[in-house]
């Protein structure tokens, strides 16, 4: 064993090694912490990537909801309400009742008028199934 003491620590660059060591260990585990905190979100994004691309696809002028073309001569307020109704309908599921739709709209403070729903039904955008259940027609609707 050598003499030791503070001189030994200095000559072996003990403090530098210690500082670099502690920083590296923290950096390594902090890096992992950051990555792992976001990993499940990234996986979720990847799994829903088709929805993500649709959301950020600014260049293609796609229909905001199926049946949009059928309403292009309707007042803008109806089109706007139809957009919101489509999002609500998707949130409820494949099938929904009108009361469910209106209730959800109320919960989210959306002003939806019943005539708009009637227009959607009359234009064949919202299709009745039976027992008061409806579904949103998903296929492309042309004006021809």
């Amino acid at each position: 064993m050598s003499l030791g003491g503070l001189e030994a620590i200095n000559s072996a660059h003990g403090l530098s090694v210690t500082v670099v060591g502690i920083i590296t260990v923290f950096l390594g585990l902090f890096g992992l912490f950051v990555i792992l905190s976001e990993l499940h979100k990234l996986i979720l994004l990847w799994e829903n990537r088709s929805g993500l691309f649709t959301k950020f696809n600014f260049f293609k002028n796609k229909e905001p909801f199926p049946g949009f073309k059928l309403l292009k001569h309707s007042p803008p307020s109806v089109v706007e309400e139809a957009k919101q109704l489509y999002i609500l309908a998707k949130f409820i599921g494949e099938e929904f009742s009108l009361s469910q739709l209106l209730e959800l709209a109320k919960k989210r403070n959306l002003a939806i008028s019943k005539p708009t729903i009637k227009i959607l039904i009359d234009n064949g955008i919202i299709i009745p199934i039976d027992k008061g259940r409806y579904y949103w027609r998903e296929e492309n609707i042309t004006t021809e």
């Binding site: 064993m1 050598s2 030791g4 620590i9 060591g21 992992l32 912490f33």
Partner: protein, 376 residues
Amino acid sequence: MHHILEYMATTGFALINLKYFLMIIIGIILIYLGVAKHYEPLLLIPIGFGVLVGNVPHVAGVNISVYDQGSVLNYLYFGVVKGIYPPLIFLGIGAMTDFSTMLARPILMLLGAAAQMGIFLTFLGALYIGFSPQEAASIGIIGGADGPTSIFLTAKLAPHLLGPISIAAYSYMALVPVIQPPIMKLLTTKKERLIRMEEPREVSKKEKTIFPIVGFLLTTFLAPASLPLFSMLFLGNLLKEAVVTERLAQTARTALIDSVTIILGFTVGASTQADYFLTPKALYIFMLGAFSFAVATASGVLFAKFLNLFVKHKINPLVGAAGVSAVPDSARVVQMVAKEEDKTNFLLMHAMAPNVAGVIGSAIAAGVLWHFMVTP
């Protein structure tokens, strides 16, 4: 008659001295702790028996000890000296470790980083006492509470200290239930020990499968010297999580790790021959090892308290003590201490996060120390 007397003079009975006798007592104590107290029996029993084997007095030239070139034990010891066994053990550890709790609440990983303070402060302490930098680094790593990492680094930097360092590392790991609780209680209030932690979220299979790849790349890019340890740890975990390699994972976590543990423990024990082991240096190593464990435990607990100043969901500071790794014993100790305060508070799952993070942290620390000791 002459031959009988000559032969008798070469037997252990004739050659034994106080040093060998003391070592045999130490070997018996280690076996006793394993068998009767259940302190890390899978390690202490092979090591304890190895200590007995290594301290059977014999005349020079019979070529039987781990230090005799070409002896059977010397060949088995080769895997220790060349650092072959620790990565194989890491493969098994990877294949049996579930990182879910760490993935569910990654912030707990930082406790595993804080607990590595023990390594570096002990490194400074060993330098101060007069150990060479290589020896000091090998002694410091005892605080990582990770036997294979301690052996791996010591084999590279100070192979002459393999015996005392590995015995100290494994003994203290076994004595975690004795060493840690007083420190944990001293540094926490009753109110803190009663903190209940929120349920961890469920972790998807995809996350668990991606983690070993991400973890491997990040840690080895940061500490390339730890590549042998990390490659095996994360490969083992990938084998486990990939499911399609279940057969390989099964072998790694059972037959392979068991075989290597037996040989490693036995040969490390056999390397503690009294002449090499009973030196003033060994005494310092044991003292510094205890200091290292204490500092590591305290750092983890105090850092958890520090984190509580910022986080929304409070962390029970006891969990910080599990950052010293010693998987899964220190996590069990956390559960034990928490249960003394509140029988319905289950911290084991939460403690496993810093516990496995501690394994990663100590391997990074070993890589850093190795880098500094081998580069001019």
